[in-house]
C-alpha cells in the first residue's frame, strides 16, 4: 500500500515539471534576416513565465506576439513581460500568436536540420531544446 502511494506521489512529482514539446520552425532562404520558433509549453504545478530565449544561430532572439487591428493591419511586437503560463496550463506558441523570433540569422534555417534554442523562464531553470525545421509554409508541428 505504501509502495502504491509512493508510486502515485512519484508520478505527481513527474507531472509537476514544466515541459516543452512540438518545437518547430520554418525553413528560410539565403539572405532572409528573420525566422520564428513555435512550441507547446505546459507549466508544472507552479505558474511560470517564458521570459526570453537565445540561440547561437541568430544575433538577437526575442519573444514576440501578433496583434491585428480591425482594419486588417497586423503588427508583431516584442513581449516585455514574457508569456504567462498558469499552473498546469498549456500555452501554444503558434502562427498568428506568440512566437520566438530569431533576428539576424547567421545562416539559413534548413529543412530537416534541427535548431538549438534555449528558453528562459521566471521559475524553471533554462531548458535547451531542438526545434525541427519544417517547410516554409508549415502551419503546425504535424504539418509535414
Amino acid at each position: 500500500m505504501s509502495r502504491l502511494l509512493l508510486l502515485i506521489l512519484a508520478s505527481c512529482a513527474w507531472s509537476a515539471e514544466l515541459s516543452v514539446s512540438k518545437i518547430w520552425s520554418r525553413a528560410t532562404v539565403a539572405g532572409q534576416e528573420a525566422g520564428a520558433v513555435f512550441a507547446t509549453i505546459t507549466a508544472g504545478s507552479t505558474a511560470d513565465r517564458l521570459q526570453s530565449a537565445s540561440s547561437a544561430i541568430a544575433a538577437v532572439v526575442e519573444v514576440h506576439e501578433h496583434a491585428a487591428g480591425a482594419d486588417g493591419v497586423v503588427q508583431m511586437r516584442a513581449v516585455i513581460d514574457g508569456v504567462a503560463i498558469g499552473a498546469g496550463s498549456t500555452v501554444e506558441l503558434k502562427p498568428r500568436s506568440y512566437h520566438i523570433m530569431l533576428i539576424g540569422l547567421k545562416q539559413p534555417l534548413v529543412k530537416g536540420t534541427p535548431l538549438t534554442v534555449t528558453l528562459m523562464f521566471s521559475q524553471h531553470a533554462p531548458i535547451t531544446v531542438q526545434a525541427e525545421v519544417l517547410d516554409p509554409w508549415a502551419m503546425a508541428f504535424d504539418d509535414r
Binding site: V29, G72, M76, R77, R96, M101, G104
Partner: protein
C-alpha cells in the same frame, strides 16, 4: 395680414423639400442595396525581378491572388503565402488559371534575388514584384493596403519590422478586385470555392 400666405408658402415649400429629400435618401438607400459601388480601378507600375514592368494591364485575362508583404516578416507572411498555396492545391486543375503574386512593401531590403528565392521556396508559380518606394507605395494605395515601418525597438541595430494589411486580393480576369480574403478569416477550401466560379472562360 400679408404674413400668413408667406408663412403657408414657406411651410409648403419646406414640406416639398423634405419629401424630395426623403425620396432621394430612399432612392440612394435602394441604390446601395442593389448596386455595389464600383471600386476605383487598380493602377500600379511595378517590376518583376528581371526588371520588366508589370502593371494593371498585365492582370487582364487571368485571375490573380495578390498579397503585399516582406521577406523579413517571420510569421504573418509565411502564414499567408502558405495559405495561398493551399488554396491553389484545393483548386486542382483550375489552379493553372490562377496566378499568385507577392508584392514587397520593403524594397529597401528585398532585393530582386532575395524576393525570387523567397517566393520560389513557397511555390515556383509565384510572381514577385517590387519597385521604388514611391512605386510600391502607390501600388499599395491603389489596393488599399496600409504599411508602416515600425520604430526599431529590437536590440539588433537597424532591424525593423513593418506593420501591414494582411489581405490576399482576388483580382478577376477583367482586372477588378472581387474578393479580399485572409488566412485569418477563410479556410483554403472556402477560399477555393469563392475563386472557382471566376476562373472560367468569359462568355
Amino acid at each position: 395680414m400679408m404674413r400668413r400666405p408667406v408663412f403657408i408658402t414657406g411651410v409648403v415649400t419646406a414640406a416639398i423639400l423634405l419629401s424630395v429629400t426623403i425620396a432621394a435618401v430612399r432612392l440612394e438607400a435602394r441604390h446601395q442595396g442593389t448596386v455595389i459601388p464600383a471600386a476605383p480601378p487598380i493602377r500600379f507600375t511595378l517590376h518583376r525581378s528581371d526588371g520588366s514592368t508589370f502593371s494593371e494591364t498585365n492582370l487582364l485575362g487571368r485571375v490573380h491572388l495578390i498579397y503585399f508583404g516582406f521577406t523579413t516578416c517571420p510569421d504573418v507572411c509565411p502564414t499567408e503565402l502558405g495559405w495561398m498555396i493551399r488554396v491553389l492545391r484545393r483548386l486542382g486543375p483550375l489552379a493553372s488559371q490562377v496566378q499568385p503574386v507577392f508584392v514587397t512593401i520593403d524594397p529597401e531590403r528585398d532585393t530582386p534575388a532575395k524576393l525570387d528565392a523567397y517566393t520560389a521556396a513557397f511555390d515556383a508559380r509565384f510572381i514577385a514584384l517590387s519597385g521604388s518606394l514611391a512605386e510600391v507605395t502607390a501600388a499599395a494605395d491603389s489596393f488599399g493596403v496600409v504599411f508602416r515601418k515600425q520604430t526599431p525597438v529590437s536590440k539588433q541595430p537597424g532591424f525593423y519590422l513593418i506593420d501591414h494589411t494582411m489581405v490576399t486580393f482576388v483580382v478577376d480576369r477583367d482586372g477588378r478586385i472581387v474578393q479580399r480574403l485572409s488566412s485569418r478569416d477563410v479556410d483554403p477550401e472556402s477560399a477555393a470555392a469563392l475563386i472557382r466560379p471566376i476562373t472560367g472562360s468569359p462568355p
